[in-house]
C-alpha cells in the first residue's frame, strides 16, 4: 500500500503537469493523425486488403505515437534537476519508476483511444463487435510498451541523441508484444473469432507484460542510482 502511495503521488504529478500543458498528448495525437494520413497513400484505403493489415497499421500508429510520450517522460525530470530531488527522496527507484509508468500508461491509452475511432472512420472498418476484447488487447499491449519504454526513457535520458536512441532500442525489443497485439487486433477488427490457435497470443502478451514488469522493477534501481 505504501508502495503505491508514493507511486501515485509521482503519477499524479506527471499527469497534472501534462494536463496543464497538454504538449505531449497534442504532439502525439497530431503525429498519429499524420501517420494515418500517410498510410492512405501506401495502399488503396478502400480495398479489402485493409482488413488483413488493419491490426498492423493500428499498432504502428500506437508505437510511433507512444514513443513521443515516452521520450518526454524522463526528459521532463531533467529541468531543474528534478530527477535528483526524486531519487534522493525516500521513494525507492522502483516506486518512482512505477509512478512514471502509470502516468505514461494513462497517456498512451488516452491517445490510443482517441486514434481508434479515427482509424475506423478513415479506413471504413466497422466498429468491431468485440470492442471490449479489442480494448483488452490494447491494454495488454500498451502495458508492455509502457514498461520497456519507460525504463529505456530513464536509461537514455542523459544521452546525446536521446530522441533517436529510444525508438531504435525499444522497437526491436517490443516485437513479441507488437506481434501478439497485431495478430489479435487484425482478427477482432475483421470481425473474426479468435480460434484456439490464436489464444496463444493472449498468453504471449500476458507473459511478456509479466516478465518485463518484473525485470524492469528489479533493474531500475541500478539504472537510476548505480
Amino acid at each position: 500500500m505504501n508502495f503505491l502511495r508514493q507511486s501515485l503521488a509521482i503519477a499524479g504529478k506527471d499527469l497534472r503537469s501534462e494536463l496543464r500543458s497538454k504538449e505531449t498528448v497534442n504532439a502525439s495525437l497530431s503525429f498519429a493523425l499524420v501517420i494515418l494520413l500517410l498510410f492512405s497513400f501506401a495502399f488503396d484505403p478502400g480495398s479489402e486488403q485493409v482488413h488483413e493489415i488493419a491490426g498492423g497499421l493500428l499498432w504502428l500508429v500506437f508505437a510511433f505515437a507512444g514513443t513521443l510520450i515516452l521520450n518526454r517522460s524522463f526528459a521532463r525530470e531533467l529541468v531543474n534537476d528534478c530527477l535528483d530531488a526524486l531519487i534522493s527522496s525516500p521513494a525507492s527507484g522502483a516506486q518512482l519508476f512505477f509512478g512514471k509508468c502509470l502516468a505514461n500508461y494513462v497517456l498512451l491509452v488516452v491517445v490510443e483511444s482517441a486514434c481508434l475511432p479515427v482509424f475506423v472512420i478513415f479506413y471504413n472498418s466497422h466498429w468491431p463487435r468485440q470492442w471490449l476484447l479489442l480494448f483488452l488487447v490494447m491494454l495488454l499491449g500498451t502495458w508492455g510498451i509502457t514498461v520497456i519504454g519507460t525504463l529505456f526513457s530513464a536509461m537514455t535520458v542523459n544521452l546525446r541523441l536521446r530522441e533517436l536512441m529510444l525508438p531504435t532500442l525499444i522497437y526491436p525489443m517490443l516485437i513479441p508484444a507488437l506481434m501478439g497485439a497485431i495478430r489479435l487486433s487484425t482478427l477482432i477488427l475483421a470481425g473474426e473469432p479468435i480460434g484456439a490457435d490464436d489464444q496463444i497470443w493472449f498468453r504471449l502478451l500476458v507473459a511478456f507484460d509479466i516478465i518485463f514488469t518484473i525485470l524492469t522493477l528489479a533493474l531500475v534501481e541500478i539504472v537510476l542510482v548505480g
Partner: protein, 227 residues
C-alpha cells in the same frame, strides 16, 4: 605476455583457416543438390552459433560487472558483444548470399532469419548506446542492463516469431542421421568451427586491449583537465 598469446593464437588460426580452405575447395566435392554454394555453410553455421553464444557470454560478463563493479568485466562484455555482432553480420550476409543462389532471393522473412535480424538490431542498439555515453562507469552499468534485456528478449522473440511463420530449411545437423551431410563434408565444418572460434577469441583479446588503453587514455585526459 598478452601480445604473445594473441600472436600465437592468430598464427594457429591462420594456419587452420588456410588448411580448411584448401580442404573445402580442393578436396570436398560439390554437394548433390546445392552445388558449389553449399561451402558457404562452413562459415555461415559457425558464425551464427558463435555470435549467438557470444551474446549470452556478453550478458554474463555484464552481470558480472554489475556484481563486482570491475571495469575489466565491462571491457570483456563490450568486446564479446562487438565481435559477436561482427560474426552475426557474417552469418546474415553469408545466409543472404546462399539464399540468392538457392532460393533466388536475397532475403526472405522466414522465422529464423527474422529472429536473427531482430537479435542483430538489438546489439546494434547496444553499440549505439556504448558510443553515446561518455562516463565509463555509467556506460558499463547501463550497457550491462541493456544486454540483460536483449538476451532475455531474444528468447521471447525467437519463440514468438516461430509461431508467426516457418519456412527456413530444417536444422541440417539434426537430420544428419538421415543423410543431411555426408561424413567427408562434415569434418571440415568442425575444423572451420574451431578456426572461427580462434578468430573470435583473437578479436576479443585485441578488442580488450583497445578497451583498456581507451580507459587509460580517458583517465589521463581527465587528469589533464583537472589541472
Amino acid at each position: 605476455m598478452r601480445l604473445k598469446i594473441i600472436l600465437t593464437l592468430s598464427v594457429v588460426c591462420g594456419l587452420i583457416l588456410a588448411w580448411n580452405l584448401h580442404t573445402m575447395f580442393m578436396k570436398v566435392p560439390d554437394e548433390a543438390n546445392q552445388g558449389a554454394i553449399f561451402r558457404i555453410f562452413y562459415f555461415h553455421f559457425p558464425a551464427a552459433i558463435t555470435s549467438f553464444a557470444g551474446f549470452y557470454l556478453g550478458m554474463f560478463a555484464g552481470v558480472g560487472y554489475l556484481i563486482t563493479k570491475n571495469l575489466k568485466l565491462d571491457s570483456i562484455a563490450a568486446s564479446i558483444n562487438e565481435v559477436s555482432l561482427a560474426f552475426a553480420t557474417i552469418a546474415l550476409v553469408t545466409g543472404s548470399i546462399w539464399g540468392r543462389v538457392i532460393w533466388g532471393i536475397w532475403w526472405t522473412w522466414d522465422a529464423r532469419i527474422t529472429s536473427y535480424f531482430v537479435c542483430w538490431l538489438l546489439y546494434v542498439g547496444y553499440l549505439m548506446m556504448r558510443r553515446a555515453i561518455d562516463d565509463p562507469t555509467t556506460r558499463a552499468r547501463l550497457c550491462a542492463v541493456l544486454s540483460i534485456f536483449a538476451a532475455i528478449d531474444i528468447v521471447i522473440v525467437w519463440k514468438s516469431i516461430e509461431w508467426w511463420r516457418t519456412q527456413h530449411p530444417g536444422p541440417v545437423l539434426e537430420i544428419r542421421g538421415g543423410g543431411g551431410m555426408a561424413a567427408g563434408m562434415e569434418a571440415p565444418l568442425w575444423w572451420n568451427f574451431l578456426a572461427m572460434l580462434l578468430l573470435f577469441t583473437v578479436l576479443i583479446l585485441i578488442r580488450m586491449r583497445q578497451e583498456s588503453m581507451r580507459r587509460e587514455i580517458d583517465s589521463l585526459r581527465r587528469y589533464a583537465h583537472a589541472f
